[in-house]
Symmetry: C2
Subunit: 432 residues, 2 copies
Amino acid sequence: MKTRNEALARDASDPLRGLKAQFELPAGVIYLDGNSLGVLPKATAARVQDVIAREWGQDLIKSWNTADWMHLPERVGDKIARLVGAAPGELIVADSTSLNLYKVLAAAIRIAQADAPERKLIVSERSNFPTDLYIAESLCAQHGLTLKLVDSVDEIPSTLNADLAVLMLTEVNYRTGYRHDMAALTAAAQAAGALTIWDLAHSAGAVPVDLNGAKADFAIGCGYKYLNGGPGAPAFVWVHPRHTDRFWQPLSGWMGHAAPFQFTPGYQPAPGVRRYVCGTPSVIASSALECGVDTLLAAEPLGGMAALREKSLALTEAFAALAEQRCGELGVYVVSPREAARRGSQVCLALHAPLEQAGYAVVQALIARGVIGDFRAGDPARLAEVPHILRFGFTPLYIGFAEVWDAVEHLRQVLASGEWQEARFNEKSAVT
Amino acid sequence: MKTRNEALARDASDPLRGLKAQFELPAGVIYLDGNSLGVLPKATAARVQDVIAREWGQDLIKSWNTADWMHLPERVGDKIARLVGAAPGELIVADSTSLNLYKVLAAAIRIAQADAPERKLIVSERSNFPTDLYIAESLCAQHGLTLKLVDSVDEIPSTLNADLAVLMLTEVNYRTGYRHDMAALTAAAQAAGALTIWDLAHSAGAVPVDLNGAKADFAIGCGYKYLNGGPGAPAFVWVHPRHTDRFWQPLSGWMGHAAPFQFTPGYQPAPGVRRYVCGTPSVIASSALECGVDTLLAAEPLGGMAALREKSLALTEAFAALAEQRCGELGVYVVSPREAARRGSQVCLALHAPLEQAGYAVVQALIARGVIGDFRAGDPARLAEVPHILRFGFTPLYIGFAEVWDAVEHLRQVLASGEWQEARFNEKSAVT
């Protein structure tokens, strides 16, 4: 892509360009942070108003039946299943990503302790999203297991051995956008006798996922990023049918009971993945999430996730190439993998010395210009290996090539003009 | 109350009658199920629209700062604290009641195991709401403890001994409306060396609660009943400051971390009750809950929970007395305690033989007439002791004395006419 006109031409011939009309996008903004919080679908406000005014306000408790609130976890879950290679009935919407990880990791540990109690290691990456590590830390302490963190992808194969109980990875890294080879790692971990848990927070709705094709064991994911479910939207959980009915998960609330309205003591888990529901789910939040998921299903007649992925890769490749071509001399380099198969739907940039500390200010200067990305701090002790990151997400549902061009141009101007040095420091950051 | 005119006169002189204007109530309905799902506040729709259209739609991730989404758990929590005798900063909104029980019971078990590892019993009531028992069952299995269930309140004192680790009770029973003496039981349990957990699902917003006055240890509660937060609203959790910082709770998600945006491995819990937040909370659902809580705080200038309680007791006493007077000969008797101090904000009725199986149909016939209560099944093996229950909740914010009169009159007509025999059986029931 050599000119803005070329970018405009690519947008004009983009078969997915019509999907953008599904969203309310603020004027004057290039929103490259859908990997943190997806944008608002136009359908959401009216749907939520209907839930509030009619289902709740008028029909009140009858709506548990008439609006089938009872099966919202399955109904929205079945829609998400279509995006991640799961079958109907295998995936449900519930709680938060952290809580769903607790459920599946606890279940995986129970299976491991039953089948291979000598395996004492949970392996993950030090660069995994921290909440995953906090939850694993908690469960390891409870069960006398050890959480082993690797510092690079290259170390993972050596951990796939007779000590490994569970390999727990986020498919697409939240910082770098590095995408694991889910099928290969799952096969290798299982060949070594271990179970796998995949966090799809930056995958669901962003890249094609084939959970059943990969024969994965457990997966969880986030509703408020690429699924456009709104801030703090409910999350989801998938369990391979070969595991679902083997054990309870420990968050054994009444909504996961086989007969919640019998009101009897003694937990009897519902068959299938319903047992991964705990308490009463928020009907309003789940309904908003459904609107978000629908914006992705709207791409199915146009090729679905495969078509979205093709566009996503074109966007991220164009952004990375332009950032190098037009901002490389100003200190910018690309952190995210250039190999398409290893890249999620985001591009992370960093700055060479002497600008290695300037990342935060550059992001702030871009936001002031209406280019919204975010900043993720590196490791101050070794910025060369773990640099401060300027993170830009590209959601092909609503981002086009002209915005890629313009974002890079803004970045070039911010650096060339030195205006980033004026950017104010704001201690708080945005939510991943 | 002898006549409908007398009921109308009581409504006319009710100093709280203006509070009803805060709600959207469906026409032609006498809603006596606010103990299952509170009604819709008028403010909620507009507030949620503002969250969706402006905070999310326009301001996107900036709202984590500008709308202070980050501190929604504390902001709404501090408001609920005013209803339950807690201080600012002691109570937060998060997740579901079931999940919050898991957190506090796990914390209580950790404290008990540190201070008195020989104590192996968790005591609760067989008639407690089942999800509480399911969660306790799960944690007992994990920690080698035993869940002991008593069949009557009278058995509780004998369990307060050197074996007891935690006494876990719901203050107001969901079926019968029986209200425990929280202060006395807390003192007795603590005198025996045990900890207490109080589920306030049917208390918060329904009866005055004084957690600090009772020196309780832990409490949880529900947002979608008397707090009018909407279907599946987030729940809350309170921890006495003497316990808060002693241990992590095991659902150690990043939103309860001391520095969530440092993105560092190694869980460091936030000081205070913030550590009881796990994953990212639903902003939409939490904002709706705030509107519901505000409807109760609107009573503060009129005497607050004490004034609401006075009216609640007058409503429930009037309903119970009228049901006996006007429907007693038709088979109705009152299950809920007539002693005011032992009664929550609901009245439960049952039917003598030969109508002991007719409860469900009677509730359906009442619903067909627009009188919405609900049915809770008894124990088929011993209906004399645990009868089928017709449950009616009285929320003094929006229920008046004329509705009490009319509800009893409908009940009388349903029984006298035999129209209940026409009521269709609907397998599903409403959510507690």
